[in-house]
Each structure stands twice: as C-alpha cells, then as structure tokens.
Subunit: 420 residues, 2 copies
C-alpha cells in the first residue's frame, strides 16, 4: 500500500543539507512501488501545519542531482519547535489532517537536536493518536553537537572552511605583522560546543603557524591568561591568530559578547565576541588588530565543502528512506566511525528519544590543559571529516546551483491553521 | 654586465601577490645572462633598508612554482612609505649602499598606489644620486583603485570570493527568513573605492536574489532611503541581503563606522559599519539580523581565487622583468582590456609618476541612480575578472602551500640602519 512521503528541513541550514534532501528524493524515486511522491514542507514543519507543500516529483532528475552542490535549504527551513502532545494537541491534530489529506505515510525530518525532538513527538502520533506514520530523523548541524552519531553532516564542511580560512588569514597576518596588524581574531559559530573553533586547529598542519590561540565555549574565559598568551605569541612570532567561539563565556556563565549593554570589560558593546576581544587586546596590549566574523559565510560555504561531508549528508538521507522501508520507526541514521587511518565509516541508527534535545560538548581531553588548543586525539577525530574536495560546477566565474520550480501541491483542506 | 635583482612586496597582501613573485623569479631565472640572483626584501622595502635580504636562488623550482597558489606575502610585506628625497635623503643613501653592496641593478616593487610612489622615488636615485638602477612597479591591490591599468591583480580573486559568498549567504538567509533572520549584512573591504562591494552585485546572476542593497563609499549614506529599501525588500522577498563597504560615509564625510565613540546614529560603537547598520535595522525596523565581516578572509581566500586573476598576477610579474630587460625604467606594467566578449587582455605599461598616489573610484555610471546597485556596464566590466577557477592542491583536506626556506643573504655592511 503505497503512500507519500513528507520531507522537511529544520533549524539553521548548512552547506550540505540539500545533499541529504537529494539522498532522500533520489532513493525514494528508486522505490516507487513503496513510496508515492516526495512532498517537501515549505519552511520546514510550518509547511505541514499550513498545508504549504511542495511537490518534488515535478523536478527533473538533473535539478534534484544539483541539490548536492547547492547550499542553503532548498525548500526553506524553520526555527519552530512543536510543543508537547499534551500542551498543544491542536498542532498534532492538524498534522494528522494534513498528512491524511495528502496520504502521507513517511515523515523525514532533517535537523539538529531540537528537530529530533520534533520528529520524536511526531512519531508519537502513530501510537497515541492512532495515525500510522513512519518517522525518521535525518541528522544535520554545523555545530556537530548531536549525541550518539560520530559526527553530524554539515560540520565537516564548516570545519574545512574554518581550517582553510584560518590558514589563509594566518599567512596574510604573518606578512603584515612587521609594520601593521599583530593580532587577528576570527569569530566562528558554536553557541555551546567548541567543535567549529576546534577545527581551526587543523590549520597549523600546513605551516601557517596559525591559530596561536583557540577560545572554546567549554573553557571559561580567563582574561589575564589570554592576554599573557597573546603577548608571548607576538613576541615569538611577531603575530598572533586567535579563533574564538561566539559562545565564549566568563566563569560566571555570562557570554563574553553579551554580558550587559557594556561588555564584560566595561566597554561599550555593539559587536560580538571578536570585537570585544579586539578592544581588550588594543587597550591592554596596544597591538594593532583586525577581526573577521564568519557568521553565515562559514555554514553556507559550499564552494569549499568537504567531500566526506557531502557524501555523509547524502548517505544519511538515503539511509533514512531505507530505514523507513525496512520497517524502522522513530529512529535517526547515525555515522559510525570504524577506523581513523584509513578513515572508514558506516551508517548506524539510534532511537530519536536518545538524541532529542541533547547536546554533545567537546570532551575535555580534546582540549589542551591550558585550554587554548586542540590535542592529538582531537586532531585524529577532526582530520578525516574535512577530507576531500567536492567543487560545485561553475559558469562564468560563479557556481551553478539547483534551480527548483518548488511547485505547490494543491490544498485539500478547507480550513487554514494559525501558528501559535 | 650581469647584476642582481631586488624584489619586494608592499602594503596589504592579496591571494595572488605571490603569483606575481613567481612571475618575476621564474622569468629572471630564464635570463641568467642578464640577471644574476633575485633577492627579496624581508618585509618589503624595510628589508632593503635593514639589509635583511632573502636569497630566492636557494629555492627549488617546485617551491617557486608553488608560490602561484600560496596566499599572503611569502617574503613579508610592509606598510612603509619612503619620504621624499629632499626630506629624508639618508634613506635613499642607505638604499644605494645596500644595492651597491649586493650589486643590485633591478628594483621590482609589488604594491598599490602608495607603493608606486615609493618605486617612483627609488627610480629617482638613478638620475639624482647617480646610482644606475632600473625600477619597475608591479601592480597589486585588492581595492582595484590603481589608475591607468584596467584592473589590479588581487582584485579579481577578492571579487570572486565576495560574489560567491554573497550568493551562498543569500541562499542561507532565504531559507531562514520565514521564522528567523530577515536581514543579513556583509561588510567588505574598500576604504575609499567601492569596487569590492560592487563585485557582490554579480551574485544575483545565479538566482540567489542577493544582494538586495549595495552600499558604496562613493555614495553618501542616506539613512531613511536605506531603511525604506530594506523594508521593501523584506516585504517582497521575506529577506534582505546588504553588502556594505567598510568605507561607507555620511554626507558630511565622516565614516559611518567611526563617527565618534558613539556612532553616527547615537549608538554605542565597537564594531565596524556592519554592526552599526545592523543595530540601526534592529532599532528602526525590528528585524532579526545577522552580519559577517569578511576582513582578511576575503583578500587571502586563495582557495576560491579567480583564474583570470592568477594569470594576470603572474603576467605582470613576468612583464616587469621583460620591461626591465628591454631597457624600460620607472614604469609599471598594466592590464589592457581588448574586448569584453570574448574577454581579451594584454599587457601595457605606464610611467610610475602617472600611477603614484592616485586612486580610481567607481565611475558614477557603474552605480545605479538610486545608489544601491551596479549597472549593466559595471557588470560587463567585472564579470570577466572573476572567471575561471584555479584551485590549490590539497592534501588531507587542506591546501598545500609553498614552503620557502627564505635563506638570508649574508650582510655586507658594517653599519645597521634605524627606521624613522
């Protein structure tokens, strides 16, 4: 009994989330006997609630294949968390109405820890509201903070971007240090976990001497130790490259970048943590500085994506469909590391309840004792994840992305729905 | 009568200045009858003044070839401007001492408008101080603001980086806009000229809808018009991508980012112009925003360099040596555009005095009447400059750069020199 599938993207997007979409759609298309059409929610779960659904079967084979090298979320994402079944039953009843109206029997939800919570809640519909649906989560997060899975699709590419950018900027600052910039600060993402900042540590393998200092959200910021280290680096190498997680905190738990209208050091506050640290370096050490804030550039940088990451993103999309067809429910495919050298991995699975709403921090033994660098174990963990290049096709100097029609499916419900 | 050559890098470095170094060294090595060794100044002209000189003849053919894909300045650069011959004769006398001690008959100086001034002043040594030396400038600047030459090596790659990054971030923000970020601001370099910001305008050719607004240093910032435009874009597209030159100014000439401790709008000031605009958008329109500051990442981004740019950077280095051997003096090779479609260019030359200390702003007809976008003529000018990809070799996920020994030449002068 063939039923349709619903796929949606959730939370912050990545350079490779569309590769997972590609994995889902291409694999479903190979199982036309079991799966009808693949519908996509416009703006994630909101598309389901509002019955704003895209028919991916209208897209050509080539357009779907091009998703593999297209950053962003091709169907739109959403930051929208379903409340519990007991709190907002209306949302679940609405989902069932929409799923029933469009004969949806498979729910594929592509996101991070919060999204796995949503997927888990939707999976409860089957049991508690007696609407049969197969729910599979698909891991995605640049933050690399999902539990159980060895790593998260999306992370490898941002890690590669950060490592490459740190190496390049390191060479730049090294050239300028004699008469100009001494301290360069790169602010990267990672509100709670320092995985992205850690990836910058790979840059020193290629002779750039950078980064000299990494500041992790897991390690409370120690102003004096930091300044002393900057000074030592500038004295030794003429320059100092600092990579800092946006989520850097003081010992009392406040974010360095958000501790009041004035920052934690009493300076007026507008920018993020990079601006705060730069002002500190300037006022206390007098060094000329520059800083960069990578922000969305880092997570959308498909032009320098990790091939490993693209392959894994595709693989978890494909595995999600295969797990559904194998009768699994309320699970998420995981990436299982089999060995470091040579790097080998395979796909596993985990119940959604075990990954929902959890976060995986950097283990303390991945950070050096002084708190400013990564250890050899961390390096061994990170290094395979940035391996390989997978360039998008270019035309006249610019990448060519998937151009989807995103054709809406005709609405079948008389009633709309108001998001709370 | 064979004499040695001195090559130095000056000012802010680029992703391809080492390609020019490669062009100089490889070409000089082909003319061993006329040119002895190629020496490089450690940290630009300072290396000459301090007799801190690198012997590039100690480098293997492979190491020199690898300069072509290595960002930063391989021998160190400097922000150091020679004063006039009449003001600081001691500097020129010192240069002559060093040049004489090392039998230097060719001076190749790789930089922007200020550096062409230095090269021009050094060229006066021949005539006014009777020390025979051939001085050739080699154009380099990400700002693209040298006069006479159609474009400047270094610009094409930063232009490609900015166009690609804008397209990628545009796709990201488009996915998030429904429930999260509405306005994304990317701050790029360009203190006086808007060429780099203009390059972002190419991104809209690939369906990203971004950028919606470009803010040029040539166009005084009009707060109300800007806010009105942001509002229109968000209403129409759900989101708005703004690309802003760091050098954006108010009508009274003050930089938007530096107009007092409080910014021009009365907000506390720490960050650059992106932070200022973001705070303005938030306070006046209430939209959630993100901003990125590309800073050094943009000018060192060799991983996404323009092939055209790499070729031109190499070509001006090669041409500098050939001009010197042809008996030219006090000139700079230029890039001459022969046609747009197909794009054809050749190498010309210009006397240094015609490019020293001058800046080429964006022509007004390259910016739309409303001041927020680029015109078709601008597009025709920019588009060929970002064409082609020229990836560095990678190993284990990271680019492999030139590893130079940078062997110092033994000092021959008893006296040191104190920089003023």
């Amino acid at each position: 009994m063939k039923r349709n599938a619903f796929y949606a993207q959730s939370g912050g997007v990545t350079a490779v989330i569309n590769a997972s979409a590609c994995g889902v759609i291409e694999t479903a298309r190979k199982h036309r006997k079991e799966i009808g059409k693949v519908y996509a929610g416009r703006n994630g779960i909101i598309g389901a609630l509002l019955e704003d659904i895209i028919d991916t079967s209208a897209e050509s084979k080539g357009a779907i294949a091009a998703l593999k090298h297209t950053p962003g979320g091709a169907f739109g994402s959403a930051r929208y968390k379903l409340k519990g079944l007991d709190v907002n039953l209306a949302e679940y009843e609405r989902l069932i109405e929409v799923f029933r109206a469009h004969d949806i029997g498979y729910f594929f939800y592509n996101g991070g820890g919060d999204s796995m919570d949503t997927a888990h809640k939707v999976s409860e519909i089957s049991r508690r509201l007696k609407f049969p649906i197969t729910c599979i989560g698909i891991p995605k997060t640049v933050d690399n903070d999902l539990t159980v899975t060895d790593n998260c699709p999306g992370f490898g590419s941002v890690a590669k971007y950060v490592a490459v950018s740190t190496a390049e900027a390191g060479l730049d600052v090294a050239s300028m240090a004699r008469t100009s910039t001494r301290v360069f600060i790169l602010e990267v993402m990672g509100r709670h976990a320092g995985w992205i900042a850690a990836a910058a540590g790979l840059a020193d393998q290629i002779g750039a001497r950078a980064p000299h200092i990494i500041l992790f959200p897991e390690i409370p910021f120690a102003e004096e130790a930091f300044l002393a280290r900057v000074k030592v680096c500038v004295e030794r190498d003429e320059f100092c490259v600092v990579v800092v997680s946006e989520g850097l905190r003081l010992a009392d738990g406040r974010f360095v970048a958000e501790a009041g209208t004035r920052d934690a050091f009493g300076h007026a506050q507008l920018g993020g943590v990079a601006a705060t640290l730069a002002a500190l370096v300037r006022s206390r050490l007098g060094f000329k500085y520059h800083y960069a804030i990578a922000d969305y550039l880092q997570r959308s940088a498909r032009h320098v994506a990790s091939k490993t990451d693209v392959e894994q993103a595709y693989a978890v999309g494909k595995a999600a469909v295969e797990l559904a067809l194998a009768g699994e429910n309320a699970v998420m495919p995981t990436i299982v590391r089999k060995s470091n050298a040579p790097y080998r991995w395979t796909i596993g699975k985990v119940p959604l309840r075990r990954v929902a709403n959890r976060e995986k921090m950097m283990p303390r033994n991945f950070i050096t004792k002084d708190g400013f660098a990564i250890t050899p174990s961390c390096r061994r963990y990170l290094e395979p994840l940035i391996r390989g290049e997978d360039y998008p096709p270019y035309r006249r100097g610019l990448p060519q992305y998937a151009a989807l029609a995103n054709r809406p499916v005709a609405r079948r419900l008389a009633e709309g729905f108001v998001l709370k």
